[in-house]
Every structure is written in C-alpha cells, then in structure tokens.
C-alpha cells in the first residue's frame, strides 16, 4: 500500500514513516502543509493519505480542510485524519459526503501499532475508523428522547464498536461473544433505530454514522 503523510512535527513524521514501513506500507511522500499534501496527492496518486489536523501556516484546522478538499477532487479517496484531540464537528464534516474511506483517530492510537495499521487498511479499502472518543461524544450528545436511549447497555456497546468501523468478528472478539450474537444485537439495533439493515459491513457502518450525525 502507498500513502502520503502530512505531519509537521519532524519526530512524529519520521516515527510514523518507520512504523508504516515496518508494516509494509510505503510512504511515498511526507509533507508538512495542506497545499503540499494536495500537490503530492496529485503527483503520486497514493492509496490513502494520513493527515494531521493542525498544519502550518495557521496551525488550526488546515489538515481537515485539505482532507475534505482532497475528497472533493477524488470522491471517496481514503483519508485518515490524526489529531491530539477529537471534536464531533470535524467528524461530522469528514463523514458528511457519506462516501466512506474516512478515519478520524487520536494520535495516541498510534501507540497501539497493530490496531493503527488495521484502521489504516480498513480506511484504504473504503471502510471507516472512528475514534472511540468521537463515537462516545456522538452518543453522549443525544437527548433522552432520541431512539439511541432505547438501546440496552450491551446493544450500546455493540453500536459503539460498530460505529468505530469494526467488523462483526472484531466486535465478537472484543466483547467475548459469538459472531452470531453480534449479528442478533446488530439486527435489534437497526430495528430500534429504524434503519434498513444492509449486508455490507461498510454500508452498514455508514448508515449508523449518518444516523448519529443527524442527531
């Protein structure tokens, strides 16, 4: 897999490059501004981009804006956004086009190399990887009248993991239950939220995220 990396802190840039190389991900370009990122994407046509939210020159949200710009130029282009903090508003903007291939993770998640590379591969193949904190905020910001409030605690856990973009098998492993049970929970969740159940995992996750986004 070939990726472009946009990260302005030298140490993190080098660290990420090494880490990815160790997992057979080739970093074709490592840049430090949003504009350079877009140039590099046009030049190298990589499989995905990894972008820090804060980039020079303004050190505000250049990364998010560059990521959205990249996805308007190439719809569905996989982008994994990294940040020191997560905000619902950025998650909603990244998910707004409903095309999938979006990741939004805390930088801390890089420490868990295996999961991080998993998330990157999931994004590159059109899936999603949302930070657990984002999902917790999306769920926490719903009123008691929202359909989400009618879920059982276990269904809530399944919904959280599903919304992060994890597969049925991964959810089953996390919660120590069988895949069949996960399937039953997911069917119950879709029924309670009034969503159409889709077989495709990615489409299903996007439906859930779109639903939460609307709240």
């Amino acid at each position: 897999m070939r990726v472009v990396l946009a990260e302005d802190v030298y140490l993190l840039r080098e660290g990420l490059t090494h880490l990815l190389r160790a997992h057979d991900v080739e970093v074709v370009a490592a840049v430090d501004t949003g504009e350079e990122l877009l140039d590099a994407l046009a030049r190298h046509r990589p499989d995905a981009a990894i972008v820090d939210v804060r980039l020079p020159p303004g050190f505000t949200d250049e990364g998010v804006r560059a990521a959205i710009e990249a996805r308007t130029r190439r719809p569905g282009f996989p982008v994994l956004v990294l940040s020191q903090y997560v905000e619902q508003i950025y998650a909603r903007e990244l998910l707004a086009d409903g095309a999938g291939g979006v990741g939004y993770l805390l930088k801390d998640r890089v420490f868990d190399t295996g999961h991080f590379v998993d998330a990157l591969r999931r994004v590159a193949s059109g899936g999603t990887a949302m930070d657990p904190e984002v999902i917790a905020k999306l769920l926490g910001g719903t009123s008691p009248l929202h359909p989400v409030a009618s879920l059982t605690p276990r269904e809530r856990e399944v919904l959280q993991l599903m919304a992060q973009g994890r597969s049925n098998a991964a959810i089953a492993g996390r919660l120590y239950i069988s895949e069949g049970t996960v399937g039953k929970h997911i069917a119950a969740i879709f029924a309670k939220l009034g969503l159409d159940a889709a077989d495709d995992v990615n489409r299903r996750v996007l439906a859930v995220l779109a639903f939460l986004n609307r709240a």
Binding site: L55, P57, T60, Q84
Partner: protein
C-alpha cells in the same frame, strides 16, 4: 335541545337576568368599600381587596352555570408563608424581621396588588353596572313594563303593547344572557397569553400614557414630602438626621429613575458613590477621621460611623442634585402635568363615569344635577356638547399630549438625576479597580490550578514512565518477556498522561475555539450537550480571543446547568451582534425557577464576564422557559482577516 328544555330556557332567562342585574348593582358600593377600607389600612389593604374578590368569583360561577362559559380563576397563587432563616430572622428583600408577621403582610400586599387580575376585577366592578347591568336587566324590564302597562291601561291598545313588550322580553332573554356572559369574560377571564391586536395595543398604550401622566402629576407630592424632610433635617440636626433622610429619598428617587426609564425609554443611570468602609479603631480605641486639611478624634464607634456617613452623603454631589430635583418636582409637574392630568381625570371620571351614574340615578330619584352642568357653566360655548363627548375629547387631548410631556419631564429629570461626567469617571475608576483586582486574582488562581494539575498529573505520570522504562532497560537482557510487559505498562501510562494533558488544554483554551472560532466552538458544545440543542449564529466577524473564550466558557456552563437542573428536553443557543454588543442567549424549555445564587456556576460566569464589562441576565419564571442572556460590549474584526479559510486551501 328538546322543545320542553327550550321553553324552560326562555322562561328562566329573565329571572336570571334580574339576578345578574342585582349583582351588577353591588359592584360600585363594594368598590367604594374596598377603596375606603384599603386606605384606612386596617387590618391590611390587601384584606379588603381579597374579600372583595368574592363578588367577581360569584359572577364567574354564575357565568359558568348559566352561560356555559368556563372562567377559571385568574389570580396568581398565594405566597407561601415566610420561612425562618437559620440565624432566626425572617427576610423580605433587603429587610430582616424578628417576627413572621411583617414579611407575610408585605408578601400578601405584593401578591394582591401586583396581580393584574386585581385591576381587572376593580375595573369590572366600576363598569359592570353600566354594561353588564343593562344587558341583564333589559329582558326582565321589558316583561315587567309589559305587565305594568296591562295592569294600568287595560284597553285593547294597551294590552297589545303589553303583550308585544312581554314577548320581546321573553324572546330577547337567552341572547342577552349570552351577551352578558361574553361581557363577563372580557374582564373576569384570565388574560389570554396571546399578543394583543394592533387596535388593542394602541388602546393599551394610550391608557398607559394617560395613567403615567396622572401618576406624574400626583407623585411630586411624595417628592415634596422628601424634600421637606431633608430641609428640616438640615435645619435641625444635620449630622444625625440628614444622612438617613438622604438614603430614604434615594430609594424614592431611584424608583422614579427606573419608572421614567420604563415609561419613556430615557434611561437614567444611578449616580451614587459606593458607601465607604467602616472606620477602623486606632490602638488606643479612638477613631480618627480626616476630612480635608483637618481631622477629628471620635471616642465611640457610633459617632465615627455617623461622621463618615455624613461625610459620604455631603460630599456626594448626587445628594445635592437629588435634593434640587425633589424641590423642583412640584413646580415642574404643575407646569407640565396639571392640565393634561385634569383633562384625563376630569374627562373620564367626572364627565363620563359620574355623568352615567347621575343620569341613572335621576331616572329613579328626582336628582337633577349632572356633571355636564358644571362643564356648561364653566365653558358656556360647550352648552350643546353632551358631557361624555366633551369628556372623551378632553381625555383624548390629554393622552395625545402625554408622550411629549413625559419625555420632556424625563429629559429635565435626567439633567439632575443622571451622574455628572466626573461621577461617571469616578464610578468607572472604582469599577475598573475592583474588576482588575478580581481578574488578577482569578488569573492567579487559574495559573495555580494549571501548575497543580501539571505537577500532580502529567509530570508525575512521566516520572513513572521514565522509571518504568529504566526497569525495562535492566530487565531486557535477563527476561525479554517481562521487559515487554513493563514497556507496555509505560505505554499505557503515557496514553493516560496524554489524556490528562488534553483535558487540561481543553480547560485553558479549547482547541476547536482556537481553530474555528466562537460559532463552531458553540456548535460543538451544542453537539456534546445531552439534549436537543439548536444553534443560531449571526456574527459578522470574530471577537478578540479573550472575549471568545469568556463567551465560550459561559455558554458551556449555561448548557451544563440546563442539562443538570432544568429538566429540559430542548435548548437553543443564539449568538448575535448588534450595536457594539455581542449577545449570547441560552433558552431552554425546562421548569424555570432558576436563581443566580452566590458561589454557583452563574456566579463564576459573572466573575469571568466582569473583566469585559459583560452582563449576565437571567429570566426564569416558574414553569419556564428560562433564558440566560449575556452581553459583552466589543468590536468584531472583519471576517476576512480573522479566518484563514481561504489561505489554507490551494488555489490550483
């Protein structure tokens, strides 16, 4: 309705009409009784008004039983009995009482007289004999007239007339009863919450202007009493009496300031200097107060306090300007308000109300006098104009002149009652000094909190990370597996340290506020709030960073309060900018009744806003909705220079 029922209804209507007409006649005597009783003041002015509510209550019950109209009681709920504070006192506003009687008395008084239903009741008592009475009495009067004619003139013509009148009376009975019910509803039903129509609001405005003019004509009498008291105090015992009299006058004058503002829109600020601190004793137990180049030694604390108070009132120019205003109120009001107040009061009370009564009485008794005679004697040219027409015209003339006169009075008053430029500056310096002290205290406290959080949190965790890595370094050759476990522990610690740092940073300056500005930061707050939250933003630019932060934290605190206390399901946040004021309003649909207690979250918001001259106001009637509004005067930078949304994106 069956045929039988209809017959009964037609038969019953005149009897009921007669009863209602009798009820109407009770209104004016009761009104006079209430008026006299309330002014006699025994046992309480509220007592008579409260007892007087029985008549409207009876009218409501009859309207419900005979007219089918549901008229619920419009009165506000009675105040709860006063509760004793832990220190044994009963509190009423700023006053403390040993016994429960005075606060209960005052609360009852306020309850009765601030209820708009009281005024409507009294107006109903005055007007009902003129409107409701005739409506109710017409049907029985026609029938009685018919019967009387038949008895007195038993000729065929007379009998025909009698039958016609009686039938008309019977036929008109039910519709007139319905009209009476509708009239009763006008004043005795609880006032609908909907906004009045254009005509009604114009009538309301005129009535208010007339009432304000009449009040402005009467209140100078009170001003004269205060002025006299001050003059006497100065002449007799200035040091002992004058400061107290000044403080009493200030309450009246401040109340008038507020009223003038509410009536005319001419806002007059309070000019008074803050009360000086209590004098501190010297080591020998005496008190030394200097005043200009000389000073005095006071042996007792009471004398020192008195002297300081005297100095405070004498040296405040506002005291003298207040006194001048009090003295000038009577001549100014005489020039401005005497004529319009006479036109309005005389026109409505004398030439309309009293005229109707003397007219009605002259039908029964041999009374020949009418207020119209006074008018015609005074102004011979008006001989052909009926008294009520002249009265209404006079009142209209008075009301038409009212706004201009009230405004004129307000501007004259402002010249004396508003703070002078020097007083404004002196007050401003005082405010700035104290707010600066509060801000630097708050900043120091904030820095201490950050220091403590870093010291106890992230710093301690990284020491632990270092120690753990050191342990791993020693283990790595002997026991690689154990070293791996130790390193994993160090990794978890650094994740926890990062989490703590993130929280800390969010408390100092939220990243999304720095990145996106106030609008998006508030939207994020709304998204994170555990209830339905709507955000409306209409800001033409960005405010300075400290102001954005203050507003952000205030809105955050308000939303947290709503989620915690209001039992609300929906909240809406609006950010607007108008006339140099940045305004944020947070409105919820909760139960209301919120109070800004000392030391609560709202107090914290106020302290934070203080440094920017920001104001937080809270409106939370019981039953909701609660609206918190904060306003900060500031300038907005133009959006071009404040956001960098164009800069970051490539142009290709």
């Amino acid at each position: 309705m069956g045929r039988g029922e209809r017959v009964v209804a037609y038969a019953r209507a005149p009897v009921r009409g007669l009863a209602l007409a009798g009820l109407a006649l009770l209104g004016p005597p009761l009104l006079i009784l209430i008026f006299v009783g309330a002014h006699a003041g025994l046992p309480s002015p509220a007592f008579f008004v409260e007892r007087g509510r029985r008549l409207p209550a009876l009218a409501r019950r009859l309207a419900a039983r005979w007219g089918g109209a549901d008229l619920p009681s419009p009165y506000r709920p009675a105040p709860p009995p006063p509760t004793r504070d832990p220190d044994g006192w009963y509190r009423d506003g700023g006053a403390l009482f040993r016994s429960a009687f005075p606060p209960a008395y005052l609360a009852r008084l306020r309850w009765i007289f601030r209820d708009p239903a009281t005024v409507r009741d009294l107006a109903w008592m005055a007007l009902n004999p003129l409107i409701g009475g005739p409506l109710a009495a017409l049907a029985p009067a026609l029938i009685a007239g018919g019967l009387a004619t038949a008895w007195l003139h038993p000729s065929p013509d007379g009998l025909a007339l009698a039958v016609a009148a009686a039938l008309l009376g019977i036929a008109l009975g039910p519709p007139l009863l319905r009209a009476h019910t509708r009239w009763t509803r006008v004043l005795l039903a609880p006032r609908a919450r909907r906004a009045p129509g254009r005509v009604m609001s114009a009538v309301g405005r005129s009535a208010a202007a007339g009432a304000h003019v009449c009040a402005s004509a009467v209140l100078p009498g009170v001003a004269a009493v205060f002025a006299l008291a001050q003059v006497l105090a100065i002449a007799l015992m200035p040091v002992r009496l004058w400061p107290e009299t000044v403080l009493g006058s200030r309450r009246f004058v401040s109340w008038r300031r507020a009223q003038i503002g509410a009536w005319t829109g001419v806002r007059i600020a309070e000019p008074y200097r803050p009360e000086p601190p209590l004098p501190q004793p010297e080591p020998d137990g005496t008190y030394r107060l200097g005043w200009g180049p000389v000073g005095t030694v006071y042996r007792t604390r009471a004398a020192a306090v008195r002297a300081r108070r005297f100095e405070w009132t004498v040296r405040d120019p506002a005291s003298w300007r207040d006194l001048a205003w009090l003295l000038l109120e009577v001549p100014v009001a005489a020039v401005l308000f005497a004529v319009p107040a006479l036109l309005i009061g005389g026109g409505l009370i004398l030439l309309c109300w009293l005229w109707a009564w003397t007219g009605a009485l002259s039908l029964i008794s041999g009374l020949t006098w009418s207020p119209g005679d006074v008018l015609h004697a005074a102004v011979p040219a008006s001989a052909n104009i009926p008294a009520p027409v002249a009265g209404l015209a006079a009142a209209a003339l008075g009301i038409a002149a009212a706004p201009a006169l009230l405004r004129c009075h307000a501007l004259l008053s402002r010249a004396l009652l508003a703070p002078t430029r020097a007083a404004v500056l002196a007050n401003r310096v005082d405010t700035l000094t104290s707010s600066r002290a509060r801000i630097s205290d708050a900043q120091a406290a904030e820095l201490r909190r950050i220091e403590r959080d870093l010291h106890d949190g992230a710093q301690a965790r990284w020491v632990a990370v270092g120690m753990t890595l050191g342990a791993a370094e020693e283990l790595i050759d002997r026991d690689p597996e154990a070293a791996k476990a130790v390193i994993a522990g160090a990794k978890n610690m650094s994740v926890a340290a990062l989490g703590e740092l993130r929280e800390l940073i969010r408390g100092i300056h939220p990243p999304v506020l720095a990145d996106r500005g106030l609008a998006d930061a508030v939207r994020t707050l709304a998204m994170d709030a555990p209830l339905e939250a709507e955000v409306h933003v209409d800001l033409p630019g960005r405010a300075a960073a400290p102001i954005e932060a203050a507003v952000y934290f205030a809105v955050s605190e308000l939303l947290a309060n709503v989620a915690k206390h209001a039992a609300a399901s929906q909240v809406s946040v609006a950010l607007t900018y108008e006339n140099g004021l940045l305004r944020a309003t947070v409105t919820d649909d909760g139960q209301g009744g919120a109070v800004a207690g000392h030391g609560g979250g709202l107090h914290g918001i106020r302290r934070r806003l203080d440094g920017f001259d920001g104001v937080l106001t809270l409106s939370s009637p019981p039953g909701g909705p609660t609206t918190a509004t904060l306003e900060i005067p500031c300038a907005l930078s133009s959006p071009k220079t404040s956001t960098s949304s164009e800069k970051g994106s490539p142009t290709s």
